[in-house]
Symmetry: C2
Subunit: 210 residues, 2 copies
DNA sequence: TATCTAACTTAACAACGTTTACTGACAGGC
DNA sequence: GCCTGTCAGTAAACGTTGTTAAGTTAGATA
């Protein structure tokens, strides 16, 4: 019935369909047949472009990491380190709340497959940026000179991930399920500020170590 | 082949089997047939005691919440509020790292089903205890008098959950997969202390609001 | 002894990820 | 202008999943 490169961007289209469906039905709701139907092919066709479902989702996640990193970069327009840290934290949570299905696939979905070293490196781009911002903050005197930038970057990541993860899961606001998005958003914003406050207090210069 | 209450504790046994298998194979690895085989019955028997897989896992999670709450309670032996907060944070992370499969099922597995109000209340026992400790800390002068205990309890939860979640996922230590448990443990401990430090700095009295 | 019922199983369903075997349509060589 | 190979895609099937429907069997009751 078919022949010759009907669509040279086939792999990209499959990934795009997968990304859309992950967002619509969550990581647990996506099936190969659904992805196939969305691009107008049969399920077996996907296997011509991807080894299996795991690899398809891995590559979908890789692309999502790029979007995510771009969103974080765009948000950090401030001139001081504490300003940029705050902007990054807010942008992180905002992206997660806007893309909960993809966020869960990226950060909570089982253990990692055999992804490449390059992919690992790419996925840590945000962390490296955070660390750089922190080091510039130390140089500028905004943070304590003895601040461990790797530990601090991990602390920030832990905080924003915890907030995003709990907000998405709907477990944080007293009631199960996803509460009113406006409430979730307001509370998440408040919490992100509380986290930023506590970091700044702990890392302010002149207070002595730890 | 069988007849009359062969086992009056059937439901409890099924839950126990499910809990063991969740820990061994993770939330995504457990199947009804596996649970059935473990208790020596056929898969359909489970449906005599539970409506479906979701309800079985819900009740399994309910029991796990009790264990979890007990572990947190046992750990908080200190006399001052900051001490108890620190102990609670460490116990939280330690429990998650010791029971990663169950932890993921409890806090990251899809959205919540239609669990009862009682179950919701029970699942928030740890949060309430944290809030009480914080309020006692305010009364004792260990924390700022204007500390918002609900916000602070959420902040703590967000921190320890983020740490536990990322540590379990194996995404935090540069390499994918679950790294050397000793490394994960040491880094998690260090991070838990960093979190506690930042909270205490931000909530110390006499520094002015936020 | 006959009947009822609780407790459990076997067989089957649709849907899942995945594999195998197939079907066309085009390209190049003769 | 035809043969042949290969590429792109599909249909059918496999084993496994959660779940349901239809038995089956052992003990209690009449």
């Amino acid at each position: 019935m078919a022949a010759r490169p009907a669509n040279p961007r086939m792999a990209a289209d499959i990934i795009e369909a997968a990304a859309t469906l992950v967002e619509e039905f969550g990581p647990e709701g996506i099936t190969m047949r659904m992805v196939a139907e969305r691009i107008g092919y049969s399920a077996t066709t996907i296997y011509l472009y991807f080894k299996n479902k795991e690899q398809l989702l891995d590559e979908t996640v890789n692309r999502a990491y790029d979007w995510f990193a771009e969103a974080l970069e765009r948000a950090q327009t401030g001139t001081t380190a504490p300003e940029r840290i705050r902007q990054g934290a807010h942008a992180y949570v905002a992206w997660g709340l806007a893309n909960p299905g993809m966020y869960r696939l990226m950060f909570e979905w089982g253990y990692l497959g055999d992804i490449s070293e390059d992919a690992i490196f790419a996925r840590r781009a945000g962390w490296r940026r955070t660390r750089n911002v922190l080091e510039r903050g130390v140089e500028d005197g905004a943070y304590r000179p003895d601040l461990d930038s790797a530990l601090a970057a991990d602390t920030i990541w832990v905080g924003v991930h915890g907030l995003t993860s709990l907000a998405i899961s709907g477990r944080m606001f007293g009631n199960p399920g996803v509460a009113d998005p406006a409430v979730v958003n307001a509370r998440s914003h408040q919490l992100a500020d509380a986290l930023a406050d506590s970091w700044e207090s702990a890392w302010r210069p002149g207070l002595g170590a730890s």
